[in-house]
Amino acid sequence: MIEKALKGGRGYWTWVACLLMVIGLGVTAFARQMTIGLGVTGMGRDISWGVYIAQFTFLVGVAASAVMLVLPYYLHNQKAFSKIVIVGEFLAVSAALMCMLFILADMGRPDRVLNVMLYPSPHSMVFWDVMVLNGYLLLNLISGWAVLGAERKGVAPAPWVKALIYISIPWAFSIHTVTAFLFAGLPGRHLWLTAVLAPRFLASAFAAGTAILILLTFILKKVAKFDAGQEPRLKLAVLSSYAGLANLFFLGTEFFTAFYSNIPAHKHSLQYLFFGLEGHAPLVPFMWFSLITGIISVGVLLSPPLRRKNGALIAACIGIVVSIWIDKGMGLVFGGFVPTPLEAIVDYMPTATEISVTLGIWAIGLLVLTILLKTAIAVKTQK
């Protein structure tokens, strides 16, 4: 079936070539990082996680959001999603793959990664995260591929595929819950030490992930003449708007708890992110841009006449993705380290090497997604 990804027009191959070039850049940068060490990144003793872990966190959410198509389609028989369920599953596969690559890129000794399996440590959330992420990737790849293969032959999928799909639904919630637990169980990191982190992760994931799915349907319509139709897009827009609303609500509760209780340690990270702390305010413009864009985008998606206009829908989806990417892919991870356990305020700035590796991993994910979707659409449009 994969051979279908080898047949494409000029535009397709240009896109693949561009991705390969970015991957080449990333590999070169990674080689430098492997030679010199993680010292080539902007990370340091105080801000010991940076862009890599932040991208990982954001992308786990994107992976989990496939459930926003799988759940209504398989549990509630929402036929409108029949054409694009596979898009969600394959997006989950590529996002989960990127997550693992980002973890690998962040490791000091990637050559020892199998130690996680050799010395299983159930008390460590990383152990569980590795388990659920790998499982989720396999569940989506196998079930998506099997359903597609059956469709190609014009038969119904084998019964075991249904079982895998049903398992993947709670599994999607588990991957992002465990990812939140990576952060939420650490004493002394007050931005993360909050019970609302896991629900907020899920809300922001479902908002940004479904927005990405909507954008993907527009891209596929334009470049592959594959139209999922207006109905599933609008349904996804409604899902995204409510998830986005929940995310904003959770953020509001964080502000209330921190500032009404007036406990300094609870306020510090939020102050650093949104107002600046002791003269350090590198993320303030980003966070306000994220907040305002998020509010406007959710507003547009909530309004039926606005979301029916394709232009407004696309703009709102881009807005929600950018907003949540800044919030989760930057603020949450960097801000959690400030102030440090010894009350120092240290700013973090990613280096060119770090950004190149990041772009390379995104390009690998996009390439895998391109190949998988190319195959899927070739099968779906073969008649």
Binding site: G39, R45, M107, G108, N115, Y119, S124, A265, P341
Partner: protein, 258 residues
Amino acid sequence: MNQNRREFLKKAGLGALAGLGAAAGLFPAFALEQTDMSNFSDKPVPGKVRWGMLIDTRKCLGNCKECIVRCHHDHNVPDFGQSKSEVKWIWKSGYENAFPTASTQFQNPEVLERQVLTLCNHCTEPPCTKACPTEATFKRWDGIVSIDYHRCIGCRFCMAACPYGSRSFNWEDPRPHIRELSNTYPTRMRGVVEKCNFCSERLVKGELPACVDSCPEKALAFGDLNDPNSEIRKLLAANETMQRKPELGTLPSVFYII
């Protein structure tokens, strides 16, 4: 696999082992280091010992850095000359940095200006060992939180989990940055986490930790916190002491007299 080949490999392997053994005998320098069993004869009962330290901040004054210099020398701690990649096992922090939740209002200004020695607390409930996905960092039978540098994957979860900033990561190869190589403790490689080990390599020889040993003011006391008759327990009973961030429930084994 061919039977003859298997036989050959077996014999070759045995031969190589015998050769190595003979070489070790002939050249003592090649032999694996002998374990001095007498070091373990007074081994404390597992689970009953909890090593602890008491730092008298009243005596630890000025710019004295004897303990830091000695520790960092003995443990081959590299000096990168900048704070981003810094590796440190023991260092001085401002009073308010070391005790951010302690009361500072109307506090004696002399106390607020004190520089406090900070190091790994060897917590009884260590958040770092819980976060480690490979058991590379673990709590020993004597309460020391230790690291296996050969198992650490460099994920830095323990660093995020430590509420005291006690852990350092080797962002680059540390070996070229060691000022004067010491043969008292192994060097580390790039990409692993390290921190104070309460001088477990000295304790096993019956010696006090290097920092305690080198302090000219005798400001540091060291001993078994689980032994009610130990010197450290008597000092703890006789003085008003503090632990860092006690509200987190980590139960640090490093105490401070203010």
